[in-house]
């Protein structure tokens, strides 16, 4: 498998188990820089685990994972920290730090990982919060936000370091159609303006078709189909065809 400068993420025969349960089995795929890949599949088929493997919150049992030119599988913590700075992660429930305000959630990585002055940090935080429509809520505690607002705050935190790769775990789960479409729009905007690579785990086929350039369909830890929407629609695998179908 090649790892040229256009490849943002690459999986090579990656397997992962939790105890006796095999979650991923010899999975291989590539995501080109600036591309949006949507990962589809039924619950418990290893989609979120795939994201956590990409950002090295989990280590694979076998296989290799490449982030751009770095093979991260055997990286030490300080090297992983360098690689993680290229990535932003929007967690399913946003995973905001509930003991501090929205502003502090966003400022934390800037304070810790950059040499920016307090004014520069304020400017950046305000800019990203405006982008996601939360400019008026920067002093709000996460517990006071609605589901959609939490999601947008989580997205703002993932974007504040201007990552080259954005990982999103079910960005539209628990949201109404309109709010979900707003989140999709923000993702598309990020991709168009900054050429950010998007890797999105989702159950929302409509949203996935709007945002995704290519699709990976997982079932029982196996990658059963991979390609454009048209390619997956004409896949030999019935589950893949069903999951990408707009009628479901």
């Amino acid at each position: 498998m090649s790892h040229d400068s256009h490849t943002a993420v690459s999986f090579e025969d990656v397997s992962k188990s939790f105890g006796p349960k095999k979650v991923l089995s010899d999975v291989s795929f590539e995501v080109a820089a600036g591309e949006a890949l949507c990962i589809l599949g039924r619950s418990g088929t290893g989609k979120s685990v795939t994201l956590k493997l990409i950002i090295a919150l989990l280590k694979p049992d076998a296989g290799k994972i490449w982030i751009e030119q770095d093979e991260i599988t055997n990286f030490r913590e300080q090297d992983l920290s360098r690689v993680r700075r290229k990535m932003g992660f929007l967690f399913q429930d946003a995973a905001l730090f509930d003991s501090v305000t929205v502003y502090e959630n966003l400022a934390l990585p800037l304070i810790r990982l950059t040499n920016k002055s307090r004014d520069e940090i304020d400017f950046l935080v305000d800019k990203v919060l405006r982008q996601v429509g939360l400019a008026a809520d920067k002093k709000t505690m996460p517990s006071e936000l609605s589901g959609g607002m939490r999601k947008r705050a989580g997205l703002a935190r993932a974007l504040v370091l201007e990552p080259k790769i954005l990982l999103a775990d079910e960005p539209s789960s628990g949201l109404d159609r309109i709010t979900a479409a707003e989140i999709d729009e923000l993702l598309l905007q990020q991709k168009a303006e900054r050429q950010t690579t998007l890797i999105i785990v989702t159950h929302d086929v409509h949203g996935a078709r709007r945002v995704g350039d290519r699709f990976a369909v997982f079932d029982h830890g196996n990658l059963i189909s991979h390609g454009t929407a048209a390619e997956v629609e004409h896949s030999d695998n019935e589950i893949a065809r069903e999951l990408i179908s707009l009628s479901c």
């Binding site: 700075r85 399913q92 995973a95």
Partner: protein, 253 residues
Amino acid sequence: MTKILEFIGKVALFGSRAIADLFSPPFEAGQLGRQLAEIGSRSVPLIAASGFALGAVMTLHTRSTLVTFGAETEIPTVQSLAFFVEIGPLVAGLLLAGRVGSGIGAVLANMRVTEQIDGIESLSIDSFKFLVVPRVLACVIAMPLLTLFMDFSGLLAGFVAEHAASHISFHLYIVRAFASLDWTNFIPPTLKTAVFGFIIGTVSAYFGYTTNEGAQGVGKAATNSVVLSSLLLILSDVILVKCIAFAFPGTAL
């Protein structure tokens, strides 16, 4: 048996990592300040009130016995020795294990369950250094200070109870309380509570940080933190009392 040894090994490694990370940058001064406020300042009312109640009760109990033997003048001495040498350190430790141990266990477990710890890691921040080390260090620093609050509020309550019974003056009470008290009765027992603080911080942070049982794990982490840290605190007290007695023979009453 293997599981118990494995568990002890894991907690010991967790504690060693906390000590090692304490000396490597970045130093989490902001987090340490927040934890000192949470663990230290907010525990003062509980510690002071408990010390006061315990001091009053102890004087009431010892008074009747000492009066029988005509030794009521020894009441302040007994009170100060009892509090400074053992009651203050041990009770303050157990109270802190209850209040703070459960808090640390539950907070960290909740952060684990709600993926906040993963969130910190995903931002290239070392979650162990950011969350665990300041909490353990805050326990180590706060414990001796809280012990002093316990000691002095116990002594104050002793005076109030004794004054009500015999109208002893505050000056005379203090003179008698400190007449037989040596520095070695005061400093080593107070400083030993730093070890209690380390035990409380490490054990409760271990249960919270390493939980993997979802929402149920939060309650379990809180309970286990209190039970195990209290137990280890009492066991370590036996060892530390022996060590102090060996190092400072004068402290043996």
